[in-house]
């Protein structure tokens, strides 16, 4: 039992740390900001998730403490990480649009315009009475 | 390399950076310098209790090795006070800039006419 648990824990640890490392490596090697943005999501989700699971299992098997609060960390990260990514993407879009020197386009090129009238929210304040503008209510 | 050396050298670097920035001529840099300086001082005060790894000062019967709780309490107090001071300094320097039109720390309050190259 304990050997199996040990193996599982070790595997989870290595998996988590590995993903965190890969995420950061992606941050370094991917070609432009938008691509690099994909890196951290790895570290956040599976990487940290695996580590947290390992922690839960570790404390359970080693110290006999049933701790589950590591899961809360994941909960918070699941709420916050997409927001961070979204905001950073907005920064990127904005900086590209105003032609900042140090801001190369994504290798995907400039973003297409949405099909309807108007533009993306970063470039045009959302009008009232649509979902994107509820914040102003 | 020992942990003690790392901490001491980190303090040295922070203090040096802090002093250098504090001696600059604009309020924002000075504030940054004070921030660095306060990091250094907090670390210094903390280090005064000697370094203990992974033995937090949470009381349990029979535990004998633990970090010295007192410097930690002192650092906590110092952090809070520093925060208050920093907040005041930031806002004061901003207000001073708004009032005089110059964010330089030196000289008298006469508005300085200068062209910002930025």
């Amino acid at each position: 039992m304990s050997v199996i648990a040990d193996v599982v824990i070790a595997a989870l640890l290595l998996l988590g740390a590995g993903f965190a490392l890969i995420g950061s490596w992606g941050l370094v090697r991917l070609p432009s900001t938008m691509e690099r943005l994909h890196g951290p999501t790895k570290a956040t989700t599976l990487g940290l998730g695996a580590l947290l699971l390992a922690s839960v299992a570790y404390f359970q098997t080693r110290l006999g403490i049933w701790t589950a609060h590591e899961l809360l960390i994941s909960l918070f990260l699941f709420i916050t990480a997409p927001i961070s990514a979204n905001m950073i993407a907005k920064v990127h879009l904005h900086r590209v649009r105003i032609g900042a020197i140090s801001e190369p386009d994504s290798i995907a090129g400039p973003p297409p315009r949405p099909d309807g009238e108007g533009d993306w929210a970063t470039f045009e304040a959302p009008r009232r009475d649509n979902p994107a503008s509820t914040a102003n209510s | 390399m020992s942990l003690e050396f790392l901490v001491a050298s980190a303090i040295a670097v922070l203090v040096a950076g802090g002093i250098y920035l504090a001696l600059r001529g604009r309020t924002f840099q000075v504030v940054l310098g004070l921030t660095l300086l306060s990091y250094a001082v907090n670390l210094f005060l903390f280090a005064i209790g000697r370094l203990i790894v992974d033995r937090p000062p949470l009381y349990a019967k029979g535990v004998v090795t633990h970090a010295d709780p007192l410097p930690q309490a002192l650092v906590l107090t110092a952090i809070v006070i520093t925060f208050g001071m920093t907040a005041l300094t930031v806002i004061l320097s901003l207000r001073s800039f708004l009032e005089s039109g110059s964010d330089q720390v030196d000289g008298d309050a006469e508005p300085v006419v200068r062209e910002d190259a930025a």
């Binding site: 991917l30 994909h38 599976l46 927001i83 | -």
Partner: protein
């Protein structure tokens, strides 16, 4: 009932979070957590006007399961891309995803899901709130990917936010 417990789901969530934090299940803990679970939603009511109705039934659980599964799978895919794909061979794309969800909460949830599954990051919403701008790291067929997002996530979310 409504006045006492305006947001049962939120209250339940808070209670669970509380118990997780406390790391133990005791009567005292439940009582204390219960108090917070009752008080906090009321207290924060003004900060969240028009809280949407959600169904936390099977639809929601199914959605969660699919998302978790996708996260794991996509993680490996992206890891592969990062490690072994040369930059020049990356087929990064912008995807414009039309959305049918109407509440901001739902759109946010969809966008969050897209971001959480590696390989896609939702970058922006259109000013009229009907399109989502998604950046994909390596996509062969943009249309297919858009369709996948819509069927896999959006339809399920529509059921949750009924």
């Amino acid at each position: 009932m409504n006045r006492l417990l305006p947001h049962p789901a939120l209250s339940a969530m808070l209670l669970i979070v509380w118990l997780l934090m406390a790391n133990s299940i005791t009567v005292g803990g439940i009582v204390l957590g219960g108090v917070f679970a009752l008080v906090l939603p009321k207290f924060t009511q003004p900060f969240w006007p028009d809280r949407p109705r959600m169904r936390f039934g099977r639809a929601f659980l199914g959605y969660l399961g699919i998302v978790l599964l996708d996260i794991i799978v996509a993680n490996f895919q992206v890891a592969w891309l990062i490690l072994f794909r040369r930059n020049g061979d990356l087929r990064a794309r912008w995807l414009v995803v039309p959305i049918d969800l109407t509440t901001p909460e739902a759109i946010t949830m969809l966008a969050g899901t897209i971001s959480l599954t590696p390989g896609t990051v939702s970058s922006d919403v259109s000013a009229d709130g009907r399109y989502l701008l998604v950046h994909a790291l390596d996509v062969d067929d943009a249309e297919a990917e858009i369709a996948r997002i819509k069927t896999r996530y959006e339809t399920r979310l529509q059921r949750v936010f009924a």
